[in-house]
Amino acid sequence: MSQFQKKTQITRIERFSSDIVRLTLLAPDIASIAKPGQFVMVRTGNGKEPLLRRPFSISQTSNGKHFQILFKVVGRGTSLLSHCREGEFLSILGPLGHGFTVDCQRLNCLVGGGMGIAPLLFLGKTLSRVCPENTPLVVLGARNREELEPLVQDFHELGLNVHPATDDGSLGHHGLVTDVLKKLDLGDDCEMFVCGPHPMMTAVHFFCRDRGFSCQVSMETSMACGMGACLGCIVPVKNGAYAHACSDGPVFDSKELLWQVS
C-alpha cells in the first residue's frame, strides 16, 4: 500500500459555521490514489502540544491533485487547525486504512451522522462515477439545519437526493436517521455505508442485521499512529479479540464487530 508523509499546502478554507471548517489541501501523491473511507493523520501544529497527529477522513478529492478534510472544532487540535491560513503547510500522512468496498449491482445506501458525513461525500462522488446507472440513497443526520445544510448541498451538487434528519427538526425529519431508514423502500439487497456517532452505527447495524442487509461501518477510535504500529486504536471483534481501526479498518463489515445492544 502506498502511503506518504507530505507537507501539503492549504489552498482553500471554508467555514460552514462557527465550528465546522473544510480545508482543501494540495497533495497530488495522496489525492491521486485515495479511496473513499480512507483517512489521513494531520499534524495540527508545529510544537509538542498537542503531541499526536489527528485522524480525519478524506472527504473529497478533485483532479487527482487536491483533497479535502471537513471537521468540527472539538478540542485543541481542531481549534489550531481552524486557525490555519491559506498558503500555510500542513504535515499529512496518508492515505491510510481500508476504505469502502462498492458493488454496483446492489442498492447502495449512504447513512451519515454529524462529521461522519465527511467520508460519505467522497463515496457518493465515486459511486456516481463508477455506478452511473445506480443512484445511491443518501440519509444524513445532524444536530440542526446550520450544521447539515452545507453538507446536503454538496450531495445535491453531485446530483444526489438527500433524506435529511435533524435532532431539533430544523431540517428534514425531526429525529434519528434510523427513523428515516425504516420509512424508505430499501428492497431486499441493500448495502449500507455508515459513518457517524457510535449509537447511530449500532442502531443501523441491528437494523441491517434484522433485514439481512450488508452493512459497512467506518469506526472512529483514539489513534496515536494511524499505521498499525501503536496498537491503540482497537475495536472489539468476536471471541475476545480486537481489530485495529487504522489498519484493519476504519471500514469494517459490521457483522465482524462486537455490538452492544443498548
Partner: protein, 310 residues
C-alpha cells in the same frame, strides 16, 4: 555533501554487536518495522526493536488504550502480540529482508516463560539481540516485581542470558527509588547492555464522565514530557555500570540524541516520536551525521559521556 555525510563515523557497539549508528527504534512504537517502510529506509537505522513478544499470543487490554497528555501520551496496550511462534513464522521473514539489526523485546510472567521465549529465539536468523522487558507497567502479575526488585531483575537476566546466542539488553523501569541498584544487579547477572527508560506509570481522568481515560485505569507515560527524567536516569546509570547504556525517553531529534549520548548513552531508541513523525529515526541519523561533520569529530563515539560538569 551527501557523500561526505556517508563517510562520517557514526558506528557504536553493544557488546559483540556493531551498529552503523546509535539510532534504534523503541519497542511498541515501531510495530514490526514493516509498517514504517513507506517512510523510512530501514537499513539506514542502527537497529530496530520490535513490539514485546510473549510465549503465547495476547489480546491485550480493552479500549480505550491510549490518551494524550501534555507533551506526552499514556498507553495501556497490555502487551497485545502474536506470541513467539507466530512472530518467528510470520514476522521474522520480512524483518530478515529489511537488512537492519533486529532486537526482539521479550516479556513473561514467570522465569520459565522468559527462558522458553529466549530458547525459541536462539539461533533464529535475523535476531541480532534480545531486549528483556522487565519493566512494563501494564502486566499485573510478575511484570512489575521483576523490574523493581534487584534479585528478580538479576534472575530474569541470568535465565535469558543462559538461553541466548546473541547480546542481551535489559530494559529498566523508571518507577523505582534508585535505578542504579537495578542496573548494577542486571550487569552482575550478565546483561550485555541496559536500555532505559520504559514508561512512567501515570493516569488520566475524564472529569465529565468521572471515569479513568484508560480502561486499564493506569498506563505508561511516554513522549517529550518524560525526557528530563530519562536523561537524569541515563546519566546516573552510565556512571554506575560499565556495560553500554541505551537511552530512551522523549527523544525526537538528533539534538536529543546528542544530549543522551553526552549523558553517557552509547545508543538511543526513538519511541513516541515515530507516531508524530514516522521519519524521526532516519532524520536523527542524518542530523547526527551533519553534527559529526560540522563539528569535525573523529567519530560520534567521542561524545559518549562527554558531559562537562560545572
Amino acid at each position: 555533501m551527501a557523500s561526505e555525510l556517508n563517510s562520517v563515523d557514526l558506528r557504536v557497539s553493544i557488546a559483540s554487536l556493531n551498529l552503523k549508528n546509535p539510532v534504534m527504534t523503541a519497542s511498541g512504537t515501531f510495530g514490526y518495522a514493516r509498517e514504517f517502510e513507506p517512510y523510512v529506509n530501514l537499513h539506514r537505522l542502527g537497529a530496530v526493536v520490535v513490539k514485546g513478544i510473549s510465549l503465547e499470543p495476547r489480546f491485550g487490554n480493552p479500549p480505550p488504550r491510549i490518551v494524550e497528555t501534555s507533551c506526552g501520551m499514556l498507553n495501556a496496550i497490555g502487551l497485545e502480540n502474536v506470541g513467539v511462534e507466530r512472530f518467528i513464522s510470520e514476522k521474522m521473514p520480512a524483518l530478515q529482508q529489511a537488512n537492519v539489526p533486529v532486537f526482539v523485546n521479550i516479556l513473561g510472567d514467570t522465569l520459565d516463560e522468559y527462558r522458553e521465549i529466549a530458547s525459541r529465539l536462539a539461533g533464529i536468523e535475523g535476531v541480532a539481540g534480545i531486549e528483556v522487558n522487565i519493566s512494563c507497567p501494564n502486566v499485573k502479575k510478575g511484570g512489575v516485581a521483576f523490574g523493581t526488585v534487584p534479585e528478580m531483575a538479576a534472575a530474569v537476566t541470568a535465565v535469558v542470558k543462559e538461553n541466548s546466542t546473541v547480546p542481551v539488553m535489559v530494559k529498566l523501569s523508571p518507577n523505582v527509588t534508585d535505578i542504579t541498584v537495578i542496573a548494577k544487579a542486571v550487569e552482575d547477572a550478565g546483561a550485555d547492555a541496559v536500555s532505559l527508560i520504559n514508561t512512567l506509570i501515570g493516569m488520566a481522568i475524564n472529569h465529565r464522565s468521572r471515569k479513568p481515560a484508560l480502561a486499564n485505569v493506569i498506563g505508561g507515560l511516554s513522549g517529550p514530557a518524560i525526557k528530563p527524567v530519562a536523561l537524569r536516569m541515563v546519566y546516573q546509570v552510565a556512571r554506575a555500570v560499565s556495560i553500554p547504556v541505551v537511552g530512551i525517553g522523549g527523544i525526537e531529534t538528533a539534538e536529543d540524541v546528542l544530549e543522551f549520548m553526552l549523558a553517557g548513552a552509547t545508543a538511543v531508541q526513538i519511541g513516541t516520536a515515530n507516531f508524530v513523525n514516522p521519519r524521526a529515526s532516519e532524520e536523527a541519523v542524518e542530523g547526527l551525521a551533519r553534527h559529526v561533520a560540522t563539528e569535525s569529530l573523529g567519530s560520534i563515539r567521542e561524545l559518549i559521556g562527554g558531559l562537562i560538569l560545572p
